[in-house]
Every structure is written in C-alpha cells, then in structure tokens.
Amino acid sequence: MAHQSDLIAEDILAYLKSHEEKSLLRFITCGSVDDGKSTLIGRMLYESKMIFEDQLTALQSDSARFGTQGEGIDFALLVDGLASEREQGITIDVAYRFFSTDRRKFIVADTPGHEQYTRNMATGASTADLAIILIDARKGILTQTRRHSYIVSLLGIRHVVLAVNKMDAVEYSRDVYETITRDYAQFASGLGKDGKPPFEIVSIPVSALKGDNIVEPSSNMDWYRGPVLLSHLETVKVDDLAESQPFRLPIQWVNRPDSSFRGFAGQIASGVISPGERIRVQPSGRESTVARIVTQSGDLERAVAGQSITLTLNDEIDISRGDLISPALSPAEVADQFETTILWMADEPMLPGRPYLLKIGPKTILATITAPKYQVNVNTFEHIAATKLDLNEIGVCNIATDRLIAFDPYETNRETGGFILIDRLTNATVGMGLIHFALRRSANIHWQALEVDRSRRAELKNQKPAVLWFTGLSGSGKSTIANLLEKKLAALGHHTYLLDGDNVRHGLNKDLGFTDADRVENIRRVAEVSKLMADAGLITLVSFISPFRSERRMARELMPAGEFIEVFVDTPLELAEQRDVKGLYKKARAGEIRNFTGIDSPYEPPETPEIQIQTADMSAEDAASMIFDELLARKIIAG
C-alpha cells in the first residue's frame, strides 16, 4: 500500500496518529457499465495508491485478456470481481471497495445500474451516506439517471455528487456540462417536497478514463472552479444528523453473566445517552433511568450514535431482544399498522395477505401486506394500479404486524424505520420496506375485552372449540368426509359449522378468482371466519383445497395451540383425476380452466398434519370415524 508519503518513512508515529483521527465515508456509485462507473472506481483506487504492484501486474495481464481499452490499463477490471461477471463484462452484484486518503477512509458500494438490478442498487444505497450519480456527457440525463436518483432519494441518502463523465468525449465543453447540470437540478426538484431536491447536489465535470478532476484540477476545464471529486469526498460533512436526533437503542442482546448483572446491549441508532437519563422501553412503555454505560475499558459518561454499548438500568424491568430504548420524553411511535413503501426483491411475487416475517432492527415479527395502493414506475414515477409486486417493483402498501412495534418514520430515522421481509418457507430476504407513518386506525381501534369469552361459550356447548382444516386436491374427498363427520357430531348434539370452498366462493369470496394472489386472500378470509366461529365455541370444519403451506400455517397461527387440527386428505393426483366427480380435471386438461391445482398450479402437501387420510386405502365412512376418535382422544368432545 504505497502511500508515497514521506511521513511514513520519517515519522511513523505521527502518521499513525493522523490515520487514527480519520473519519469514514460510505458511498455508492450509480451508473451503468457504459457510463464508466467501474473505470471511475478503478481510477480512484489507482490514484489513491491503493493498488499493489502484484495487483497491477495481474491487472495488466487481465487488461490484455479481457480489457476493452486496447493497450491501456482497463481500470474496470480492477473492480469487476467474480469470474463469471468478468467474462460477461458486466457487474452483477454489490461489491465493496476500500481506499483511504490522508483525511478519510472510504467504503464504496459498487452496484450494477440496469433496471433488473434495482434491488442490488437499493442494497448498496442502504448503507451509503453519499451517492455519486454518473452521467455520460454525450448522452445527458437518461431514464436510468432518473431511476437511480429516485432510489437514492427513496433510501434517504442526503448527499449527491453529479459526476458528468466522459467530458473528454465532448471536447470538455462547458455548455454541455452546464446544460446537464441545469436539467438535473430541475428534475431533482420534482423528486422532493416543496419543489426542493431531496438531497444536496454537487456537480463535477470529470473524465474517469483520462483522470480529469478526479484528484487534480483538470487543465482541460479551466472554466470549472468547484472542488475535484476526491477532495469533495474527503471534506463533505455527512454524519452530524444522527447525533442530533432523539436517542434510540434497539436491544440486540440481554447480557446476564450472573444474577447480579443485567445489561442491555445494542448499537445506538441515533442520539446521545448518559447515566441518569430517564428512558422508556418500547413497546411496553415501562420507564427507568440509566445506571451505567458499561465497557471493558471502564464505564462511559456519554455514548453517541454509532457506538455499540451495554446499558444497565436502575430498576428491574423486563426487556428482551427487539425492544427499543428511547428517552422518556421523546419516545418513538408504537403501532401495528403502517403505510410503507416496499421494494420487492424475489423472483416469486409479493402476495397480499400472505404472512411474511418482518425484521426491523433486531426484532422479528409476522406481518401481512395489503394489496398495493399503487405501484411506482421507477422510470417515470407514475403511479400505476397493481394487485401484487414482482421482482424489482416498488409499491406503496399497508402492513399489519401481529404485535405492536416501536418505530420512527424512515424519513427521520433509517435504522428504526427500515425493515426487511423474509419468506417463511425459503427463509430468503424477499423485500425491503420503509415506514411512512402509522395508520391512525390502529392507534384508535382498541381490542374490546368481552365479558362472555370463548371458554364460557364453549362450556355452554359442552365441547372445546376447534378448527378441523381439511386440505387436499380437488376431488380428494375432503367435503364428503367433512360432511359425514359433521353428521356424526350433530347426531350427538355437538355444535358445528362446515365452511366449504365452493360455497364460500358463492358469497363472501365471490370477488376472488384463482390466481395465486386471490387464493391467498381466499384462505386468509376463511381463516379469519373460522377463527370467529371457533371463538363462538363451534367445532368448525373447513374444507378447502388450500394448496399453499404458508396460508395453512397462517390459519394455524391464528388459533390457540391445540385448537387447529390439520387433516390431510391424501389422494394421489391420478386417483383424484380418475374420479373427477365434478368433471373439472377434464376441463383443466383441455385448457378450459387455468390455474387448476395439481395441473398448472402447485399443491404443497402438509409436512406434519395432525391427521393424514390415505383415501386410496380407506372409505369415507372409516375416515370420518377415525377423525371422530381423534377428537375424543384430544378431548375436544367428551365420550
């Protein structure tokens, strides 16, 4: 790392001292391969002397093999990491680069610019303090410039460098540069509120290829009097905001080495804290005061945003991972319904109504997303109607969580207002979201505690409430078995209700079709209705194909433990198709019905159902008796 600084050779202690005082800037570069993005980063690494001789030698040989610069060094190759990408000549993923100057250390998130990589760009932007938006001087503001700027503003980056690149290709023309700068300022004003850009803009005319205005002022552009790129990056102020905001500490870890010590550990999201300050634990609302800020090298008098700390409190109150510690006088908001912006990041579309895991800071909860209010076209910012979100699509949706969470609007605090969405079956990160505000209806509608409760109602009926959830292919025999079982129960004086798929679709769910999204909503409604029926004390029989594990799991989780009994009516597809009581398989095979489960829409069999019935070996009567015995065994009904 040949910083050719004499200081290193002459006074290493002084050098170390100066390096110790350096601050850190994280930035993202936005642009496409054609804009010279990789070249710009490669150039910065090269100019800041961050390339070793052996790397330079490898670079020269790589330039000859894969390079696009003829005899010259192709700086882009320095940053294009993975072998497959190098061969294709594109940057697919987010890569992080490091360099430092005498004043600052830099972490660069290098992300691809094409529309199909919007999620990668959002990922890089989520940790950046500043964005460099690259524009090809020959082309001016393009659709992609608008898209990049929109994502930058969405992710809350407050500093933008507009790098007008390839100035050498337009003969270093001042006119070209000024036109682009003016056009951009006008466009950016439209992104913010009150006609002001949502971020500070500093424009710099550069040539990454030739090195103009990167490190040294360019002699080719005497007319430009602003800062060169690197010196602007070295001096721009970025992190003054976090400390001025109210204190927020998301608790990651409760530290209990023995019964005498109970510390709460986390990284301060914003603000400042000192011993003696009055705090509130959210969402519970309990209050205490800070006793100590404990570190290995002694207690602290003060801790600030960005530090990882361990606090102790003066009162013994219950705090667990995921809680938020805030000042008693300026707490975060608490709610369970929100308006949010969501960027979808998975190949499988976002399905409204399906529960996803939502992780906000260290807290993970269940959340369901409503149908998008609208989708945003990332190129034109038009609002378009949508029923779901596909990969890389952005939409505004309401979210309901299964319990209260403490949060701040993303606009005021990235750390307490941003969340990820996780698929419960694949565990993949499928989306990211930004909280706008709590929906007032969640703040104002409180759960009404009723005096006659579910156990009282069930008692009157001399039974325990339960939901028997029959799932299986069309024609598997679900409804036949459920019917027989209900007759048996009714004959003995039990109170039951049978919710049948076909019947419900004639009424409550007649507005729904058979797309994946509608199937999810279909099941969500039925699950909620069956929950109400069980609440009323009924033994509720639900007979629905319900092909997806996620939704059956959602239904299960609505019910108290032991009251949800999944009955898998296991009939092989060939057999169901052979029976074809309603003639539906024939139609599906003929292409007259689309999205038919088992034919062109998947059925995900239960992994651990409470009851499994192989209809190939068992009559419907025997099946009903078997379930009846199971209800006795589970003491749902008395013998």
Binding site: H3, L16, H19, G81, Q296, G306, G418
Partner: protein, 298 residues
C-alpha cells in the same frame, strides 16, 4: 464524531451480537493469525462483562508453526475460553501433507474438508471468520452473513440482499452461516487497531533470526524435521518475519528488520506487494479463491 476505527469496531460488535442472538450453536473460527486476534479481542468487548457465548474452533492441519500452537494454548487459557481443535483424521492416516501431496490437495483435505467435518461433528450452525473484503476480489462481494448449503457450498449468484445492518440469519436445518465481522476492515485498519489496543500477536510476525531455505524465490522456514531438504539445500539463519500465518511449508517469509509493531506497520505501508502474495494457494489463477470458496473453503 466517531473515527473510522471506532465505527468499524462498533459494527463488528453489532455483527457478533446478532449472530450470538440468532444462531443456535455458533462458533468462532480461530486461526491464530492477526485477524483472528482482532476478532477475538472484539468478541471479549462485545459481551463484557460476560465471556463470549460461543467456543473457539481451530482447524489444525498439523503443519502450523509450532509457535502458533503454543500461542493459541496460552491465549485460550488466559481468557478462560473453550477451544475445540479438529484435525482431519482420515487425511492424517493417509499421510496427507504439503510436501508429499502439494499445496492444493493438502489445503483441500486438511483445511477445507477438515472444517466441514468439524462443523458437522459439533453441529455448529454459524461460524465467525476473520476474512476481509479487501483481501481478494471474490471476497469483495461476499455478504457479512454468508450462507452455506447443507454440503457447505457457497452460491455467489444467489446471495441474500443485505440491507442496512438488518441481517437475515434464518436458515433451514442443516444449512449454516459464515459470519464475517471484519468484512469492512482493511489490512492497515487491522494493524492500526492492534497497535492502539495493544493486542498480543504470535511472535512470528516480528522479525528475528530464523532458519530458512529458499525455494522458487520463496523463503520457507524449517520449523521441524518433517521438511525434506533437497540436495544442496542448507537451512540458513536469516532475519525474517511473516506477513500472514498458515501452514509453515506454504507460508513465505520476508526478509525484514521490523521487530516492533510500528516498524511492521511502516514496512507494510511502504511495501509494494499485497499480503496474500505470501500465500502459495492463491497463485494458480486469479479466480481461484472464488472456486475454492464455492467448494467450501472458508
């Protein structure tokens, strides 16, 4: 305002606490080198006054420098930590070693396969590693929480997006996580931090008279009598030190006068070759690390 080292330390602590909270059976891979030393030092801070809630694991190829092993045992005893040492017994029985089988086979059997064995044997579902993104190009794209399939493979094309510092640590049974708390540190940051925090290091990093032979331009230290000498080869005492530590037959020494920490940092800053050059395994081809990692190399 925090300095860059304070920010890096705070980030590493945050990562360690997330893994400790979300994994069922985490472990810290301890390779005895300077990056492991920093990682361990930060772990002691992250959970203070408690000890880190996970053990250490050292994959011992049996070819490490002897000084590394004694240093390891001392540190572990001093800090009061639990250490697992694992050696690939099948490899040992087959007599696999760098001199007889070459660096590629030795590294695969005694390091990569041994690591998989150890993780499976103890059922560790998350392992901390001290790798840094500045070390090598394929590392630059690896996530801080990096997933491994049931057979420990890394799929670079199918990595989870990592937003803010909200890490998704969920996985199916059998899958595991490699977590890299030092991802955003550079070599200089590591040295600077060691200097500021006065972190103990294996003496091999400091220059001293050591017996070496020169092979293909690389200085190899004769650490024990398992090293077969070629005709005419005679170990010579030279003033050398090591920039990275691993198996002694695969780790090149550099001639140096640097016998203090500041002298080492000075030398590192003035040098013109990158740190991994001393590692014999990286030389094959420039995409070799990516290939190794897909196969399960840490």
């Amino acid at each position: 305002m925090l300095t860059h080292l304070q920010r890096l330390e705070a980030e590493s602590i945050h990562i360690m606490r997330e893994v400790a909270a979300e994994a069922e059976n985490p472990v810290m891979l301890y390779s005895i080198g300077k990056d492991s030393a920093v990682m361990l030092h930060i772990a002691m801070k992250a959970f203070y006054p408690a000890l880190p809630p996970f053990p250490l694991l050292h994959v011992d190829t049996t070819w490490k420098f002897r000084e590394m092993i004694s240093f390891r045992d001392n540190i572990v005893a001093k800090l009061g930590l639990k250490l697992f040492v694992h050696t690939n017994q099948e490899g040992l029985a087959q007599g696999i070693g760098p001199f007889t089988h070459g660096s590629a086979i030795h590294t695969d059997v005694m390091k990569t396969q041994a690591l998989k064995q150890a993780l499976d044997k103890y059922g560790f579902d998350a392992a901390f590693g001290g790798a840094r993104r500045d070390e090598e190009k394929s590392r630059a794209k690896e996530r801080i929480f990096s997933f491994r399939s049931k057979d420990h493979r890394w799929d670079p094309k199918n990595q989870r997006p990592e937003l803010w510092k909200t890490y998704n640590a969920r996985k199916a049974p059998g899958e595991s996580i490699r977590a890299f708390p030092l991802s955003n540190w550079t070599e200089l940051d590591i040295w600077q931090y060691i200097y500021l925090e006065n972190i103990p290091l294996v003496p091999l990093y400091f220059s001293a008279e050591r017996p070496v032979v020169e092979r293909d331009g690389t200085l190899i230290m004769v650490d024990d009598d398992r090293m077969p000498l070629k005709p005419g080869e005679q170990p010579q005492m030279r003033k050398v030190r090591f920039r990275t530590l691993g198996c002694y037959p695969l780790t090149g020494a550099v001639e140096s006068e640097a016998d203090t920490l500041t002298a080492i940092i000075q030398e590192m800053l003035l040098t013109t070759t990158s740190e991994r050059q001393g590692r014999v395994i990286d030389h094959d081809q420039s995409a070799s690390m990516e290939k190794k990692k897909q196969e399960g190399y840490f």
